[in-house]
Amino acid sequence: MSVNSKPFQSRLGVSRRQVLKGLGAASSLPLIGGFAAPAFATGSDGRVVVIGGGFGGATAAKYLKRANPNLSVTLVEPARTFYTCPFSNLFLGGLREMSKIAHGYDELRDRYGVEVVHTMAQDIDPDGHSVSLANGDTLHYDKLVLSPGIDIRWNALEGYDEAAAELAPHAWKAGPQTELLKRQIEDMDDGGTFVLVAPENPFRCPPGPYERASMVAHYLAQHKPSSKVLILDAKDNFSKQGLFTGGWEQLYGDSIEWVGLSGDGRVTRVDAENLEVETEFGTVHRADVLNVVPPQKAGWIAERAGVTDASGWVPVKPESFESQQVADIYVVGDASVAAPMPKSGFCANAQAKVAAAAIVAALRGDSTPEPYWSNTCYSLIGPEYGISVAGVYRIQDGVIAEVEGSGGLSPSDASAEIRQMEAEYAVGWYNAICQDTWGTEA
């Protein structure tokens, strides 16, 4: 391995100045005999294909190249612009524009030398170590990273199929669905009811439905103050529950109502055309805007790869996030089974770094580095009212476990100043993780 420009590339990516600096270092060290590596190497140390350009996939691609610029890394992602689910609730609340949750792939391509291919991955041949693409190409890999996110289990909730989602949006993948839901909220008459149907665990972003209810309530309080938010929930407990209910009472009085499983909150049938839902014990609720967060599973390409189990999610080896079922396929983010880590963008990013390091080590014949993960999920209840849950995770007895004494929730008795600081840090977090993942400043 040549010594020359590596420290500059690996720490800070490749800029012209750094390449020149690297060349200088090489020429001043004739004993090492290095040749200047090309800025974007030819992949002599291995070929890695990454499918999915969200928090997990984009991070994996970047950190693979940081750790070893001589890897050939190809990122397959159909969208040229990726909209994040985190902060899409702020768009619904009127606090942020869609353009401020949009990210592209210029940094990965131009600074890190990742080859970015904007097409769909159609199939995976694990034995042949290849991926076939919708554009007709085939990519060969030594290691494959899947970060496919979630797919909706259509019809798992009776009446909720793709057509229904055009009338009663899920908006659980950010983009057109988010914009559709926003239009519906804006078009709703004052005095209307926004009904949010929340699913059983596990699902993407455990506090997400409750932050959404908060942000919609914030918008309604400003523009349609006689309106209500009703959450019909398939479970009795949810993430940061006490903090949410305390904040709702303080900011929105009784305009947010939550009905849990034992209160007959579990929705069993959706009638999207009439904007009605029916619960387990036959209560019918009529909505003016109906937002269904439906049951989910790993993104479908994971099924094609044969890495999912009966649950629809992907069991992984904790130390590397390599599939337990198929060698050389690493699965990060929401698609993986990583409890007690939640399905969050932060965790996807953290898992991607662990997987990238494991891949770099494996391709060198080195042992897998010891993994560390952490998570922080901020939720906004109001523009100046933030709450959080944090966790630090390690492997204990062969499984992922939260480090004892670490992590936990914002204090229930925190001052208004702390709530405001957390709201500000939520924005700081979003900006930082997007910089870390895509190199973009939203």
Binding site: M1, R11, A67, A350, K353, V354, A390
Partner: protein, 109 residues
């Protein structure tokens, strides 16, 4: 022939070899293990802890200062903390020292 070097010369050679070894290590080894340990920090502090936002940057700050702060967070000695007290408790004192050292030595652009 067995040439004995004065002790000081031996030390100097050893030091220069060590220095060489360090540079070699820096060059060859993006320290994968330490990068993995530090990986989560970037999610709020930016890549390499170098992002200047409302979350303070870590890159290039004094190692002793960083270590002292991290230990203070861990021991609940920082007033008005939001999450760093919860995060710091996930690491041993040695790991916090290693993280402080890591971020102190990040090259600045």
């Amino acid at each position: 022939m067995n040439v004995r070097l004065p002790r000081a010369a031996t030390a100097a050679i050893a030091a220069s070899l060590l220095l060489g070894a360090t540079q070699q290590a820096l060059a060859d080894d993006y320290d994968l293990q330490r990068e993995v340990m530090a990986g989560g920090c970037a999610n709020c502090h930016g890549t390499d802890g170098a992002r200047a936002g409302n979350v303070p940057p870590l890159a290039g700050r004094d190692a002793d200062y960083l270590e002292e702060r991290l230990l203070a967070f861990k021991r609940n000695e920082v007033a008005d903390t939001t999450i760093m007290n919860r995060i710091a408790k996930g690491f041993s004192d040695d790991e916090l020292a290693s993280l402080a050292e890591h971020f102190a030595n990040v090259e600045q652009e």
